[in-house]
C-alpha cells in the first residue's frame, strides 16, 4: 500500500509538469488555431538556456530568469511573427508540417552547437525524503506539485477573473465578435504566445532534473503534453491538468505493476479510449460541425 501511494504521489508530480506543457498547447489552439508540434522543444530550449547561464557562473534563479525572458522573446514573439502569422491562413496542415520542421531544426541545432550528451540539471527543491505515515515522499515531488498546481490555478483565476483574461477567452471563443466588442485581438493572441513560452520554461525547470537536459528530451514531453491535453479536453483549461495528472499516475503504476517496456504506451491507450468514446475529452464540450 505504501508503495502504491508513493507511486501515485510521484506520478501526480510528473503529471503536473505534463499539465504545464499541455496547458500552453491548449491555450495556443484555442486562441489561434495553432497546433504546435514543437511544444517539446519549447521545453527543451529553456533548459539549455538555463544551463548556459549556469556555466557562466550565474546563480540558478538568475539563469532561469534569463531563460524565461529569452523563451518569451524567441518562442513567444519570434515563433508567432516568423512562423505562425504567415502560415495560419493556409490552414492547419502547413502549420503542422512547419512546426514539425521547426522541431527537427531546433533539436539538431542544440545537438550540433551545444552537445549530444545528457547533462545533469540542478534541483530547485531539495531531494530529501520525508516519511508521512509510513509513506516516503520526496520534497522534490511536493515542491513540483505545489508550484505547478499554483501556476495552473493562478492562470485559471487570471483567465476567469481579470478583464484581460476574459478578453482572451472571448478571442478564443469567437474572434469576430471579440473584434466587434473592441477587444484588441492581436494583442490578446500575442499574450497567449507569451504565456505558452513561460509555461514551457517553468515545465523545463521542473522536469529537467529527472529527465536530464538532452537535445531530444522534448520528444517524450511534447507527446505526453498532447495526449494530456486531448484526454482532459482540448477546449478546457482544467482538462489539461486532469489529463496530465492521469497520465503521470497511470504511467507510474503501469511501469511498476505491469510492464516497464510498455510504459510509453500508457498515455496513448488512454488517449485512444478517450477519442473513441468521448472525443471532446473528459472535461471538454462537444464542438458542432460547420459547413
Amino acid at each position: 500500500m505504501g508503495d502504491f501511494l508513493q507511486l501515485v504521489i510521484s506520478g501526480t508530480a510528473v503529471g503536473a509538469i505534463y499539465a504545464l506543457a499541455a496547458l500552453g498547447f491548449t491555450l495556443l489552439w484555442q486562441a489561434s488555431g495553432t497546433i504546435n508540434f514543437a511544444q517539446g522543444e519549447f521545453v527543451m530550449l529553456p533548459a539549455f538556456i538555463t544551463l548556459l547561464g549556469l556555466s557562466f557562473g550565474a546563480p540558478l534563479w538568475l539563469a532561469f530568469a534569463i531563460a524565461c525572458i529569452a523563451s518569451m522573446l524567441v518562442l513567444g514573439v519570434g515563433f508567432k511573427k516568423a512562423v505562425v502569422d504567415p502560415l495560419i491562413r493556409h490552414g492547419v496542415i502547413p502549420l503542422v508540417i512547419a512546426t514539425l520542421g521547426l522541431s527537427i531544426g531546433v533539436k539538431n541545432l542544440v545537438r550540433a552547437s551545444y552537445s549530444a550528451e545528457a547533462h545533469p540539471f540542478p534541483n530547485v527543491f531539495p531531494d530529501t525524503l520525508v516519511s508521512v505515515l509510513g509513506v516516503r515522499i520526496s520534497f522534490y515531488d511536493i515542491g513540483t506539485l505545489v508550484l505547478a498546481g499554483a501556476i495552473v490555478f493562478g492562470l485559471q483565476a487570471f483567465l476567469n477573473r481579470t478583464i484581460t483574461g476574459r478578453a482572451m477567452q472571448a478571442v478564443a471563443q469567437n474572434t469576430e465578435s471579440a473584434t466587434v466588442l473592441g477587444i484588441d485581438v492581436k494583442r490578446m493572441i500575442l499574450y497567449v504566445f507569451l504565456i505558452n513560452a513561460l509555461l514551457a520554461a517553468v515545465a523545463a525547470l521542473l522536469v529537467t532534473p529527472t529527465y536530464l537536459a538532452k537535445f531530444d528530451m522534448g520528444d517524450t514531453i511534447g507527446l505526453k503534453a498532447f495526449y494530456a491535453a486531448i484526454i482532459g479536453g482540448f477546449n478546457q483549461t482544467r482538462g489539461a491538468l486532469l489529463g496530465g495528472v492521469l497520465v503521470g499516475i497511470l504511467e507510474n503504476l503501469t511501469g511498476a505493476y505491469l510492464s516497464p517496456a510498455y510504459k510509453e504506451g500508457v498515455a496513448l491507450m488512454l488517449f485512444l479510449v478517450v477519442i473513441l468514446f468521448k472525443p471532446e475529452g473528459l472535461l471538454g464540450k462537444a464542438e458542432e460541425r460547420k459547413v
Partner: protein
C-alpha cells in the same frame, strides 16, 4: 497532361531505367530505396492529399508489411505469396485505423495515427519471440523473377522500378475512378459530400486502407531490399519523413511523392559534408518552404501561371 510534359516524363523514366548502368552499388541502392518510398508515399498521398485525412503513422504500415514479409519468408513462404498477404494485412489494419478518423479530424487524427505508430514500434521492439526485438531479422532472401535472379543490385532495382510504375498506374486509375472523385469530395467538404450521397464512412475507411496497402507492399520490397529489418526504420521519425515527402513534393499532386521522396532521400547524401548541421538546415528549410510554398514544390508552375 500536355504533349511536352508527356515527352519529358517518358525521357525521365527512360533515364531512370538506365541509371544503374552508370552507378555504383550504393547509388543503385539509394535509387531502389527511392522506389520503395515512392510506393509508400503514393499511398500516403492518397490518404492525405486526395482524401484529406491526416496521417502521421504511415511508417507503421511500412513496418507491418516488412515484418510480415520477413517473418513469413523465414518460415519458407515465397515472396510472391507473401507480397499480397502483406498488402491485405495492411489493408485490414488500415481499415481499423480509419475508425478514429470517423470521429475526429485534423489534430486529433494526427495524434491518433501518431499514437498507432508509437504502439507498433513498441511492439516491434518488445515482442522478441516474433520480431527478434532490437536484433531484428536478418538473412532475408531476395526472390527470383520467373527464374531470373534478383540478387544483383541492378536487377533488383529494375524489378522494384517496374513494380513502382505498375503501382503508379493503379493509383492513377483509382484517382480517376468514381472512388477518386469521392475521395476529393470528402477532402473538400465532408458534409456536402455526405448530403450528395457519398458514403463518407466507407470512403474515409477506404482512404486509410488503400493508403496502408500501398505501404504494406512497399514494406515487403523494403524487407527484401535491405535483407535485414529491425524496428528503427519504422519509428515515428520515419512517418514524419514520409509525410514530409508528400507535402514537400506537393500533396494531392500525382508526382508529389516522387519528387518529395527524391529530396528526402538524396538531400542527406549531398549535404553529408555539413555533418550534424544537416538536420538543422533541413528542418529550417521545411519551415521556410511551408511559409513561401505551402502547396509544395509542384505548386510552383501554378504560381507562375497566376503571376
Amino acid at each position: 497532361m500536355k504533349r511536352s510534359q508527356r515527352i519529358a516524363l517518358a525521357v525521365l523514366m527512360v533515364l531512370l531505367a538506365a541509371a544503374p548502368l552508370g552507378l555504383k552499388n550504393y547509388g543503385i541502392y539509394l535509387l531502389t530505396l527511392w522506389c520503395v518510398y515512392v510506393m509508400a508515399g503514393m499511398g500516403l498521398n492518397l490518404t492525405v492529399g486526395y482524401a484529406g485525412q491526416m496521417s502521421i503513422g504511415h511508417a507503421a504500415f511500412l513496418g507491418i508489411g516488412a515484418y510480415t514479409a520477413a517473418i513469413l519468408m523465414k518460415l519458407g513462404l515465397s515472396f510472391w505469396l507473401v507480397l499480397p498477404m502483406a498488402a491485405v494485412l495492411c489493408f485490414l489494419v488500415g481499415l481499423v485505423i480509419g475508425f478514429p478518423a470517423l470521429r475526429v479530424q485534423h489534430h486529433y487524427l494526427a495524434f491518433a495515427t501518431l499514437g498507432f505508430n508509437v504502439l507498433t514500434y513498441l511492439f516491434f521492439r518488445n515482442e522478441e519471440w516474433l520480431t527478434g526485438g532490437t536484433f531484428g531479422i536478418s538473412g532475408i532472401q531476395r526472390p527470383a523473377f520467373f527464374g531470373l535472379s534478383l540478387e544483383r543490385s541492378a536487377a533488383f532495382f529494375w524489378f522494384a522500378y517496374g513494380s513502382t510504375i505498375l503501382l503508379a498506374l493503379l493509383l492513377w486509375w483509382v484517382i480517376r475512378s468514381p472512388w477518386g472523385r469521392a475521395f476529393a469530395a470528402l477532402r473538400d467538404n465532408p458534409i456536402r459530400a455526405e448530403s450528395l450521397g457519398v458514403n463518407i464512412t466507407a470512403y474515409t475507411l477506404l482512404a486509410f486502407a488503400i493508403g496502408a496497402a500501398f505501404a504494406g507492399i512497399a514494406g515487403a520490397y523494403f524487407a527484401v531490399l535491405v535483407q535485414f529489418i529491425e524496428p528503427a526504420p519504422f519509428h515515428l521519425t520515419a512517418s514524419l519523413m514520409m509525410l514530409l515527402m508528400v507535402i514537400v513534393g506537393g500533396s494531392g499532386k500525382f508526382f508529389g511523392p516522387m519528387l518529395g521522396a527524391a529530396i528526402v532521400i538524396l538531400l542527406p547524401e549531398w549535404l553529408r559534408f555539413l555533418k550534424d548541421w544537416y538536420l538543422v538546415i533541413f528542418g529550417l528549410a521545411v519551415v521556410a518552404l511551408m511559409i513561401w510554398l505551402p502547396g509544395g514544390l509542384l505548386s510552383i508552375p501554378d504560381r507562375w501561371k497566376k503571376a
